[in-house]
């Protein structure tokens, strides 16, 4: 057992760090570090930089443009990316649809869609959740009826993150209404410019608009856009949900935000001394710091087991629960740390290039919105309750 990186891993980390140092535009890392809004063009810019280096889809097979990294390399890259305050890779094309197409798509589909994910021609979004089908994803009601060369799609998707930017959406649709819940579902690729699609933004608790409702009214989709077999979509959907989990715990994000918290706690005062020296606040910080250090090793242990041929899958549920709890706790402490100056609500301060004067300490205005926004971490991607169900069944055998 050896927790230190091998010389090769160490060299790789240096290479990654050098890349972020050289290629990550300061403008972008500043936006990320300060918790500002990213525009579509900002995200596209970063994708293009990563793609140029061949690191955009870092878990794809080399044949389709992946770099051929090990899980440990991917973990290192993800961590360094967060520590460098790089924008996150928009996951819908790269991390979600890509693997499904690679495993289940036809040769034509792979050739058609994969390069366009890499070069940014298509911005993808995800059409999974519906108003009546959240945790119970298989309860979805959106229908697709085959009529000649097209499917006619009717229904509604919701919580469609960044759908306002999307060119394409991959959707779970019900193609056999008579089959059992999981058995009549298919996986369709739909052009967002198709007649009959309407996107309506949902404003979230922090006042931001990052998710959407997508309505489908008699939308015609070429049958060539069916992935795999009709009525087999549930298999592909589950594969997508468990596939790429090296970064599900978000250790890098937590480390970066904990570093920021430490600075804030040094700067903020309580009773004449730094908040960081208040015994109760110091204890709160130390508890989460230790939990995070433990998490980092738990994450690596799980990844090492996968790399060594062990079972992946359900262990990622553990990483998801604990990882999101830690991330939420750090945002909670950051909010607490600002005291009364966490209260001001300055949405325009989230905009890049805002020149207004801060109210209170720098970045205080981001603390509470970030805390509230991050409550989503334990809800989306399979709520933490669903993850506990998975653990009970798959790991505990209950």
């Amino acid at each position: 057992m050896d927790l230190s990186f091998t010389p090769e891993e160490e060299a790789f980390r240096e290479e990654v760090r050098a890349f972020f140092r050289d290629k990550l535009p300061a403008r972008l890392s500043t936006l990320v570090r300060e918790g500002k809004r990213l525009r579509k063009s900002d995200m596209e810019e970063w994708h293009a930089i990563l793609n140029e280096r061949g690191w955009l889809a870092n878990h794809w097979p080399e044949q389709w443009g992946g770099p051929g990294w090990s899980v440990i390399q991917r973990f290192i890259f993800d961590n360094e990316s967060a520590l460098a305050h790089a924008p996150r890779v928009v996951p819908f094309g790269v991390n979600m649809l890509g693997p499904v197409l690679i495993k289940y798509g036809s040769e034509e589909q792979k050739k058609q869609w994969l390069p366009r994910i890499l070069d940014g021609s298509d911005w993808w979004c995800q059409g999974y959740s519906e108003p009546g089908a959240g945790s119970d994803l298989a309860g979805l009601k959106t229908t697709a009826v085959r009529k000649g060369d097209v499917y006619v799609v009717n229904g509604q998707k919701t919580w469609t993150t960044l759908g306002q930017h999307a060119d394409m959406i991959f959707c779970l649709v019900r193609t056999d209404p008579t089959a059992k819940k999981q058995e009549g579902i298919s996986f369709l690729l739909i052009d967002m410019k198709s007649p009959g699609i309407e996107v309506r933004p949902i404003t979230l608790i922090d006042g931001e608009q990052e998710v959407n409702e997508v309505f489908f009214t008699d939308v015609e989709v070429p049958v060539a856009n069916l992935v795999g077999e009709e009525n087999m979509g549930w298999t592909y959907a589950k594969y997508l949900l468990t596939y790429e989990r090296t970064n599900i715990a978000g250790v890098g994000f937590s480390i970066a935000s904990f570093e920021r918290l430490k600075e804030v706690a040094q700067m903020q005062k309580k009773g004449g001394r730094a908040l960081a020296d208040d015994p109760l606040f110091a204890a709160r910080m130390a508890r989460v710091e230790i939990d995070l250090a433990n998490m980092q090793t738990t994450n690596l242990r799980v990844l090492a087991a996968v790399a060594g041929g062990g079972a992946p899958g359900a262990e990622s549920s553990m990483l998801k629960i604990k990882g999101t709890e830690i991330r939420q706790e750090i945002t909670s402490l950051t909010r607490r740390a600002y005291g009364s100056y966490a209260a001001p609500y300055i949405p325009e301060a989230l905009e890049a290039g805002w020149n207004g004067e801060d109210v209170g300490p720098e970045d205080a205005a981001m603390a509470a919105p970030s805390y509230f926004n991050n409550r989503k971490l334990s809800i989306f991607g399979g709520s933490n309750e669903i993850q506990k169900n998975i653990i009970s069944k798959a790991i505990l055998g209950l």
Partner: protein, 360 residues
């Protein structure tokens, strides 16, 4: 021992609850709360005409109530409806004036609701300093995140001094006073109040030599009780909303309230809300008592309790609702924000736990 409210107090509560239910739906609330003013002057006027502010003061101060339990029932009702109008400032500033004496006219206008007042207590980036100047003072510095500062036409301002704090009544239009207003995260408004060489005469002072701490305690104590009661009102609302959602929302073919893991968590939420309610009752009871230490301890205990429980209730409410609980459109998200952000006013959970220990 008796846990029934008096008839008068129950009538007051019923009137207020009814007025808010009929006249203050979440859309109205949010329009005011996130609008530029951060509250709705028409709503404020309606509610003050019902005598809501007067209920917070005793007859000597021109009101018809003023006990701890009066403050409790009023702010519970306000919390249940997520009211952002400037009652807290009226209570705290008015209580300070009532405790100090000598500003009867201003106090009367606050109690009647004609004048909106704010209590400016926490120093901002530049601490507030009062320099003696003739019989009066020159004030310089800032007060931070003063609730509804932009709406206020008078401020009751505290200045830390060696010995005893100085409490001053400062009209908002005094030369050198400026307010930077902003909305707050959960709706409503606050402001940083800046004093630039503000010249005040001797009669600006509230109370006499050596009375400062007692005045501050009177105002802050009332504020702590009010915020604690407000939180419990908000908790009651989200409890009912969450129970309704658990009963109605189906997943996997059954109402999600049938899932035992969620049931047990909701039972814990219920328990903790009941405990928070008891904490506020304890504080309201001690508020009128003669034992100053018992009063301060009960207030600290209440604010600590609602800080801890408020965050628990807010987080569980959102989690049990799932995505819908995170939407602006759905009322509980605003309640959840209030329940969390209330811990950022007048000292947080840790602060009041430490204060409780220090008072022990």
């Amino acid at each position: 021992m008796n846990f029934e409210h008096t008839d008068d107090r129950r009538m007051l509560a019923d009137t207020l609850v009814r007025a808010l239910r009929d006249g203050y739906p979440i859309e109205t609330r949010n329009a005011g709360a996130y609008g530029e003013a951060g509250y709705d002057p028409a709503v404020w006027q309606q509610l003050t005409e019902l005598g809501i502010v007067s209920a917070l003061f005793d007859e000597a101060a021109g009101g018809f109530g003023g006990s701890g339990f009066d403050i409790m029932v009023v702010f519970e009702a306000l919390g249940r409806a997520l009211v952002v109008e400037p009652f807290l400032g009226a209570l705290m500033a008015g209580r300070a004036l009532a405790a100090g004496g000598g500003h009867d006219e201003t106090l009367a206008r606050i109690v009647s609701g004609e004048t909106i007042a704010a209590f400016a207590h926490d120093d901002g980036a530049t601490p507030l300093i009062a320099t003696k100047s003739g019989d009066g003072w020159t004030l310089s510095g800032t007060k931070a995140v003063v609730s509804q500062a932009g709406a206020a036409s008078v401020f009751v301002v505290t200045v830390e001094q060696d010995g005893d704090p100085l409490v001053l009544l400062v009209p908002a239009d005094t030369a050198g006073v400026s307010v930077r207003s902003f909305n707050v995260v959960e709706g409503g408004a606050a402001g940083d109040v800046t004093f630039e060489n503000v010249a005040l005469s001797a009669d600006a002072r509230v109370g006499g030599e050596g009375q400062g701490q007692a005045i501050v305690d009177a105002a802050v104590g009332a504020g702590l009780l009010a915020l604690s009661a407000e939180a419990v009102g908000a908790m009651e609302f989200v409890k009912e909303a969450t129970l309704g959602y658990l009963r109605d929302r189906k997943q996997f073919g059954v109402p999600i309230g049938k899932f035992q893991a969620l049931q047990h968590r909701m039972a814990t939420v219920l328990l903790e809300i009941e405990q928070a309610h008891s904490a506020v009752i304890n504080a309201a009871s001690a508020f009128d008592g003669d034992d100053a230490k018992a009063r301060e301890r009960a207030l600290a205990a209440a604010k600590y309790t609602i800080g801890r429980t408020g965050a628990l209730v807010a987080e569980e409410t959102i989690q049990l609702h799932g995505g819908i609980g995170m939407t602006w459109e759905y009322a509980v998200s605003h309640y959840a924000k209030r329940l969390v952000m209330i811990d950022h006013q007048l000292g947080d959970e840790d602060y009041h736990l430490q204060r409780y220990i220090a008072l022990g």
